[in-house]
């Protein structure tokens, strides 16, 4: 839906129909129109693009950086490991949302700014997780065997260790996407995220917030979209965890 926005949306996201401002949902405009007469349904579909793009891509990038960083740190061990994890500890201790806001102030309030800010704060969680997993798997006999056979560290990491943490990475991915979506929408809601004329579900909700008393539908639909998206990613994550994560054994349930 989000990818094909220009074809799906019945109206352009910036078309203003000044005769039909602030209408309630009807047949012509499924979710009504906003203060400037823009079709909310169309804006929601375009907003989905921004929200989902930011949510998914920041997570993928954070996962990529975190995995490489964590794996190198764990595999190198010793002083390198200490130093690399020291950096992670410091970044980890910084208050997330504050840092995101400060970075978006620096980078500008576009999609790129928000994207970079979110990536910069979220890779550390992944790095910690991956480091722990690599440390655990490193000691397994099959890795020792590969090392005894003279495989290079890169080869061991890529061919022996990586396949074993893939499951956990997929689970992490589906749990981190809703976190990113939540952060972006919160940021946009308080007016520090995506700037107009672009809109995400969070900024749409903010538009609706100003008129909540008389036109609650304007905030209802964006809120519902955010809620349902986050909910489905969380359920997906839980389902995947049961299948893919070896640490949650069935016997525990």
């Amino acid at each position: 839906m989000a990818i094909f926005a220009p074809w799906v949306a019945p109206y352009s996201y910036e078309t203003q129909d000044t005769l039909k401002t602030l209408t309630f949902p009807n047949f012509e405009h499924w979710m009504g129109t906003d203060r400037l007469g823009r079709d909310l349904f169309s804006r929601m579909i375009y907003g989905a693009r921004v929200s989902l793009f930011v949510g998914i891509f920041t997570t993928v990038f954070a996962l990529l950086i975190g995995t490489i960083y964590g794996a190198i740190s764990a595999y190198a061990g010793g002083r390198t490991d200490n130093l690399m994890m020291g950096v992670v500890d410091v970044v980890f201790a910084l208050p997330d949302l504050l840092m995101i806001i400060l970075i978006t102030v620096l980078m500008g309030r576009g999609v790129t700014g928000v994207f970079l800010a979110l990536t910069l704060v979220s890779w550390v969680t992944v790095a910690r997780l991956v480091r722990g997993e690599v440390l655990r798997i490193k000691e397994f006999p099959f890795v020792q065997a590969a090392r005894a056979l003279g495989a290079s560290p890169t080869r061991i990491l890529a061919r022996e260790i990586f396949p074993n943490i893939l499951g956990i990475l997929v689970v992490t991915l589906s749990f981190r996407v809703p976190v990113a979506i939540l952060a972006e929408s919160t940021l946009s809601f308080i007016g520090l995220g995506i700037a107009p004329p672009f809109s995400s579900w969070g900024s749409l909700a903010n538009d609706g917030w100003t008129a909540i008393k008389f036109y609650p539908h304007l905030i209802l639909f964006p809120s519902l979209a955010i809620f349902l998206t986050i909910l489905s990613f969380n359920f997906l994550g839980e389902g995947l965890r049961e299948v893919l994560d070896p640490r949650t054994s069935k016997a525990h349930e």
Binding site: D89, V90, A93, L94, P95, D96, L97, L98, M99, I101, L102, I103, V105, L106, P178, L182, S185, T186, F189, I190, G191, L192, A205, G208, W209, I212, K213, P216, I219, S223, I226, F227, I230, L231, N234, F235
Partner: protein
Amino acid sequence: MLRFIIRRILLAIPVLITVATLTFLIMHWVPGGPFDTDKILPPEIIANIEAKYHLDKPLPMQYLLYMKQLLQGDLGPSYKYLGRDVTDIILDTFPVSFTLGLCAVWVVLGLGIPAGMISAYWKDSLLDRSVLLLAGMSISVPSFVLGAVSVWIFSHQWHLLPPALWEGPRHILLPAFALGAGFSGYIARLTRTTMLDVLASDYIRTARAKGLTEPIILFKHVLKNSVYPIVSVMGPLTAGLVTGSFVIEYIFSIPGMGRFFITAVTNRDYPLIMGVTLVYAVLIVVANMVVDMLYGWLDPRVTLK
């Protein structure tokens, strides 16, 4: 124990220095300044203003000056609220945010722990299922959505509670709920999992065999042994509540630190931004430290090194 505390404090120092330096640098990299207005000011006035706030000195000098003032507890003058120091503003707004956060913690624990206990005790019942479903949903609701919905229902539809401002106990209810409810879902799940473990343990079986009544077993034996994991997440919880309070204070127009922070960002009031950021960072670092100590003190199995 003392060594542990000293080690944690030593670890906190680089974090705080990093926060201070990072915010300082970011604020000075940002294009455009707080005194950019539509009116074109004569160069003498600009020079005057810059001299007043030490903006005419080279960057390293400004940094040293800033750090020196910081050590003295002086966060500098606000650029926008003329005649007010950032320290003053923070001292005024911090108690408000703190009260809100404290009330939210009560909401989190007051909803989460009982729900988790009920869920674990009647495992796999309809009640358990509904608690789990509710917990799953509450985790997925952004706090601003919860805030907006509760304002709409309780203020605009039923006219029971005020929709905004901060003038008495009635004004605390909705924001505290909106801030805390999401986290109570986590606590409920956590309580359920740990309680299930404890309920299945040998000493609970022994207690039952001794013929103790269920309430005594539940509250004296089970609950007491289930609180440790809850204590351990209080650190991240505090951090979550702190950042969550931005949005809540924005929605409910509460004159707390979070709302001042948002206005400061839009006003480019750099000293205020840096001041609030630092206070939050200290708060989170201290909370984590206290939680770690509390954990070691409560749970005899943990030794602090």
